[in-house]
Symmetry: C2
Subunit: 348 residues, 2 copies
């Protein structure tokens, strides 16, 4: 089968598939014992920067489960580390940016990097994974979208209210627009580097963009997400993802993407109807549902598939990443359920 | 003027007003120097339990600004403290529940209380505030909605993903439904006690319900919010509020409320159109906008008022509470702008 006919890539083009393809955000991660074992030997950043180890992690879930895609093991903030912002992953906590950006001067002091030179380990990981995967499933590359990466740079880490980010937008729009412009260029180079190294689809993670009103999204985010998506090499499907985006979906679609990611807060059928027929969708099971018994999981998988109504262009996924304490056998059960319940032939 | 003709109460009934009434969630709080001064003499819980001081705090913003309502100074977790869950407000952090509920047994061990006996200080605060306010502006009482209160009881404090709460729902629905049933009864008594003491409207804070899918809302939350709202004394407007609720609004409306609270993520005009003509709306300025310059604030106030289109039944508010570092003069400017830009007579 030509690689382009693999179910995930067909679904991204809204072509019919024999069953609904499924992968899971953060499918390589702490819920897997083989990941935790490897992590004992590496700090998080060191693991991301060791191509053999990062490739091993990328492949762990694909070896264990009949997933329809692998996703590169990396972090959305890798790309900003060479810009000199003091990135650190503290044990047990989220990322910390030791010199957060709060002014135009801070933005101007960012080191100008060529992402293709600065992140060779990522591209090497992609090449190793592609060799190992052969043509079995496609490899998805990814990057943080400009807003979400900017929010970490401005807040200095995770946030609940994104107050520093919004304050910069409102009080110093010149600094904000400068920062977003820098991130578009760097991220486009980074993703095009991944594409050249062999990823067959890319996901843009605008994970925290749901903190914004639609007006702010359109003024401060949409032009940059659009410019980034337009700067990517043609022919590679782009999955455009965020959470808390019920009110932003039409604007995110306008920014671009062949596939729009849906979190669990929206009804997949209603959201897809609003987006219209010209786009595929990905989602949308609440990651917390994997804590429930398999019978419960099955009911909810069935409900999502019913809302997709067998229409070509649905990639099954969670609404956000796999949670740390998720039972591994529930993940296995989920993937089987998606394949079984969506199977057109009944033979699979 | 009869109290019922005060603008906020008219708007809650979708009757025409000369200008759009405005109040702000957390209008009494840390952004006010007079609040911070008083807080130096009281721990948070002690302040809530001291009727004279709590009344003073309630009145602080109403004395400073031409607000169209006062809101009782209290906390949504006051009602659970007498149930023996080990509530504490740690300095600088959010609330902590020292014995979180994780099972049916935990729910059964909750002390059964009569909220009317257990919280006399709240009702006394209401009576003092009403005397002081005379008939100038109405006093809004409030309680946490069952889901949001339950989320604190189950998580043991604030949460990002509400994983323990969802896990209890999914794995032990009997325990969940028992807990929600208890909270409906206690909260109904608590709010009816506030109404008897003199509040002229009530707001139900389901602040964190936006973490749920609409399916989960309908199964695990809607019946309880509805039962609670139906158990309230008639004739008192109910404001039903949550954040992140873009996909939940029709279900929240089905649960009840004369006024539906809108956070800043939704377009007020679109949301109101979806809700239909039989309900008023409250909102919906992003609290972070108060960090911007007054010119920026003005543009955004104007946009919200334009979306309300002068239709009776809009109460202006933020989409969530006033943030701690909000400039006091921006709050003053906001309230004046709402009155000025919405004024029908031009004489105000």
């Amino acid at each position: 089968m030509p690689i382009g006919d693999l179910p995930l890539l067909r679904a991204a083009r809204r072509e019919a598939t024999d069953f609904t393809p499924v992968w899971l955000m953060r499918q390589a991660g702490r819920y897997l014992p083989e990941y935790r074992a490897l992590r004992e030997r590496y700090k998080f950043l060191d693991l991301c920067k060791s191509p053999d180890a990062a490739a091993t992690v990328t492949l762990q879930p694909v070896k264990r489960f009949p997933l329809d895609a692998a996703i590169l093991f990396a972090d959305i903030l890798l790309v900003v580390e060479p810009m000199g912002v003091g990135l650190e992953f503290a044990r047990g906590d989220g990322p910390v940016i030791h010199t957060p950006l709060r002014s135009r001067g801070d933005v101007e002091r960012l080191a100008r990097i060529d992402a293709r030179d600065a992140l060779p380990f990522v591209f090497e990981t992609v090449r190793i994974v592609r060799r190992e995967l052969d043509r079995r499933v496609p490899l998805i590359g990814f990057a943080g979208a400009p807003f979400t990466v900017a929010s970490y740079l401005v807040e200095g880490g995770a946030s609940r209210d994104y107050l520093e980010t919004k304050t910069l937008m409102y009080r110093d729009p010149v600094a904000w627009h400068a920062l977003m412009g820098v991130l578009v260029g760097v991220t486009a180079d980074y993703l095009n580097g991944q594409i050249e190294a062999g990823v067959q689809a890319v996901q843009l993670f605008d994970s925290w963009v749901g903190a914004l009103s639609a007006d702010d999204y359109r003024t401060f985010v949409l032009p940059y997400s659009r410019a980034l998506i337009r700067a990517l090499a043609p022919g590679i499907p782009v999955i455009h993802f965020g959470t808390g985006t019920a009110a932003l979906l039409p604007s995110m679609q306008e920014a671009g993407g062949d596939v729009i990611g849906l979190d669990w807060r929206v009804d997949l059928g209603q959201a897809w109807a609003r987006l219209g027929p010209d786009v595929a969708v990905q989602g949308n099971l609440d990651p917390a549902v994997l804590m429930a018994d398999p019978d419960q999981i099955r009911l909810r998988v069935r409900a999502i598939l019913a809302r997709a109504a067998g229409r070509p262009g649905h990639i099954f996924n969670l609404g956000h990443g796999v949670l740390q304490h998720t039972p591994v056998d529930h993940v296995a059960a989920l993937i089987d359920m998606v394949h079984e319940l969506s199977s057109k032939s009944g033979e699979r």
